[in-house]
Symmetry: C2
Subunit: 494 residues, 2 copies
């Protein structure tokens, strides 16, 4: 038996199991009545357990050792590496520690759901301390096998191969740039009249129709996907059946429309992954940084641009049967790119968002390194907000308790949001340069040239390259914060 | 380790896996875009394979042998028996034969999907012959372990414990009764004026609202279930998250409404199963005969009754904003209980339906016994239709090729439709006698008393009793065709 082929067979099975889980998760968020929750968590836990058993099967170690690496082509080698990475992440941590982590994060999330509205950090702290403790231990175990630092091992779960030493100089540059830049943007913005907020209500059915139309226009193939409603927008399902959800607000159509465009970026990536590697790790999306680059490229680089609004504004106005000053491309563009200092990351605009992220990245690194105690988090958070965003949270509810990530042990995820934003800027700059048709076609609502560039340079490469490799092959240079900064300058000071 | 407890643990896991499959199947029928079909079949095949592996794990044999039966209570003993039955059905047939059956039925179904519209029995025959051959072999293998006939082993898959020797006398009695009775009913019906067919179109949204309202009224709990649309009505999902689907026809609201009431009967059964045995075989529905009795009790005994129509007719008329002669309780009742000789089982009315079933039962028994060759099926079918229903099919398309059951190897299923109809009549007669409030409350659209009786006498007993045991405990007597006949006489000659 060929060890590599046997590994492929096993990972194909594992992937099909994970695809089934993807459908169950989508259903949970978009379709399931509340009364199904208990049963659903049993079903999902069972599939997750089976998947875990398959990935930690003792035969895998021998199979990895038995592979004749010289007989593998480039994609197979990359596939083997990704298989091994998944296996290391699954096996490096002792079973009891996995269980302890699961218990600690479930408990912390539960406490957080009550303590946050109560603004009660004291109550949360012991549970979060426990989470930090078990995450540090698990990270250390993985770090030993991966040969990296504990924090890098956490990063590696989300953006395989990414390391803090690569992020640090880029984030440091951005951190030095942002505070003054935010001041400048706000000053510049104050010079012009405020954009007019379009007046609602905006009926959900019309918003949904508009989302559908824009998705299709961008290249979302509804023979291979759906658009539904859930409490939080997300992109789930499988590559040949992408399940996108969004949430509609009757008083503000921009939120759902832009959230849908964002998720469409994720969806197009999933839909464009290499079909011949569908069930193998190398056929998957590269990681959360590249994934976020695809959603932000579509949302921030394209759909919030003045070029896109020239095509989109008349269509939006027509859909709502509206007209007047509020509905001009210029007004809608300015309305969609408004900057303000705010407390909450998920509501932040393109300019202040990276500031929110960088402070979280720095704080979580300190926590994992044992340099920041959970009880000192509120103070450190508030100081960082003052420094990076320029405002101080009035309470912990809208301060260090606002995000779920740490509560569920998701350390190492935050930086990928801003890496994604920077990669998006760099990819879009390269794409525009390589194909001068991209911008004029966007002005006509045609996304074929852009999608074609993304397919070739990102989507079809799956996980056959590292995050860095993808960026360099597509753009000819390493990730470079100055490209993102130039984009911000052009858009917000132009 | 307690062998029984370990068996419970393993079957709980298996059941959760099967529940996940239930969600995937519902999604496939109700939500999935066409482009997801290939991936979905891979996901489902993977889960089915894992479930099969778990059920045929070599450790199970030892565990069954190791159980101390004297230490088990009544429910545990029944559970053990059901576990063993599932295990026997999974292990009695050699792997190659299982594969051969899967290949033969897939092939036959594919050929049938084209040969039926072409009315080409010649083309179908070889594929169907192969199916009959492998089904006979598989049935023989199961029969040996179960200690019953080959046909009984097939029956046992759908209605555990049911045997042909129990069905024969009941079906013989009904077969002797039906042909003359159908003549009588048609004569009787001809004496009165034809009911008026309500005139459409009936907008889908209104039909859906009405279905929803009636489901809720009958006791369907929408915190634990949904109503959606699919090509064929069915009841799927899990006991705490029942997924019901139906199909709407704009020209005829009765079809969807009655199909929904039928599926609601199935749904109420699933929702009422014993919660403490949720993940064990003994906590499942008893089998297809009892399941069909629940759907037919709700549809035929209740919702097509004059009593129900007194409450329902004004509500239906109001929903469609209609009035006049077509919308009286009497007219809608007569419209919904119209009898006619027809070719197609699934379109048949309550009176002729059992005739369609009995002829299939007799023919499939002959095929499994090797007494009827597939090539002789059309002739035998047409003769039986003439004898039982009183008309002769003009072709095989609407004759012996009309149903999918045999094409996919589903021998042994047909009789459970009519067993269900008879059980429904017997249960409803007993319920009405035991609780005189049931009928008056139905006239007021209140189903609490009936549902409460069904919960106590059927639903909450799960599979802790045999089909016969359930009937006898609930009604005080064995299954008795004369009760069903009396129901038909009262309704159709009254």
């Amino acid at each position: 038996m060929d060890a590599y082929k046997e590994l492929e067979r096993r990972f194909a099975r594992l992937n099909k199991l994970n695809e089934a889980l993807g459908v169950l998760r989508w259903d949970h968020a978009a379709m399931m009545p509340d009364g199904g929750a208990e049963g659903r968590s049993e079903q999902m836990a069972t599939l997750e357990l089976i998947a875990h058993e398959q990935l930690t099967d003792s035969a895998l170690g021998d199979l990895f050792e038995g592979v004749d690496a010289s007989a593998l082509d480039e994609w197979q080698s990359a596939n083997l590496e990704e298989m091994r990475r998944k296996w290391v992440h699954a096996t490096a941590v002792p079973g009891e520690l996995v269980e302890a982590e699961s218990r600690a994060t479930s408990r912390c999330e539960m406490i957080w759901r009550q303590a946050r509205p109560d603004n009660d950090f004291e109550r949360l702290a012991p549970a979060l301390e426990e989470v930090v403790e078990v995450v540090r231990e698990a990270a250390a175990a993985k770090a030993e096998v991966l040969g990296c630092s504990a924090y890098d091992a956490l990063l590696d779960q989300f953006d395989p191969g990414m390391r803090a030493e690569k992020i640090d100089p880029i984030f440091d540059e951005l951190a030095a740039f942002l505070p003054d830049f935010i001041d400048e943007v706000l000053e510049h913005q104050a010079k012009a009249a405020d954009p007019i907020a379009p007046e609602g209500p905006f009926p959900e059915a019309i918003q949904k129709g508009l989302s559908h139309e824009f998705m299709e226009q961008l290249g979302f193939d509804f023979r291979h996907g759906r658009l539904d409603t859930s409490a939080h927008a997300f992109c789930g399902g499988t590559p040949d059946d992408v399940r996108l959800t969004t949430t509609y607000y009757e008083h503000d159509f921009t939120r759902a429309l832009m959230a849908t465009m964002h998720e469409t970026g994720h969806a197009l990536y999933n839909m464009g992954l290499p079909k011949e590697w569908r069930y193998q790790p190398v056929g998957h999306a590269r990681g959360t940084s590249i994934h976020e680059s695809q959603s932000l490229l579509v949302e921030m680089q394209v759909c919030r641009s003045r070029d896109f609004m020239e095509w989109a504004a008349p269509r939006i106005a027509e859909a709502f049967g509206a007209s007047g000053e509020a509905w001009t491309p210029d007004n809608l563009y300015r309305h969609g790119t408004r900057v303000e200092r705010s407390l909450i990351r998920i509501d932040a605009d393109e300019v202040t968002y990276p500031a929110h992220v960088i402070l979280r990245y720095r704080l979580e690194r300190q926590m994992i390194a044992g340099e920041l105690a959970v009880r000192d988090l509120p103070e450190a958070w508030n100081a960082a907000m003052q420094e990076m965003v320029g405002i101080e949270p009035p309470d912990d509810r809208d301060g260090c308790m606002q995000d779920i990530h740490w509560m569920i042990g998701g350390f190492g995820y935050f930086p990928t949001y801003t890496l994604g934003a920077m990669i998006a800027a760099q990819l879009f700059a390269a794409a525009k340069e390589q194909d001068p048709e991209i911008v004029p076609s966007i002005r006509r609502g045609e996304f074929g040239p852009l999608l074609s560039w993304l397919r070739t340079n990102i989507h079809e490469k799956g996980s056959s390259r590292s995050t860095e490799g993808l960026i360099e092959e597509a753009t000819g240079s390493e990730l470079d914060a100055s490209i993102f900064e130039a984009h911000l300058r052009t858009r917000y000071l132009g």
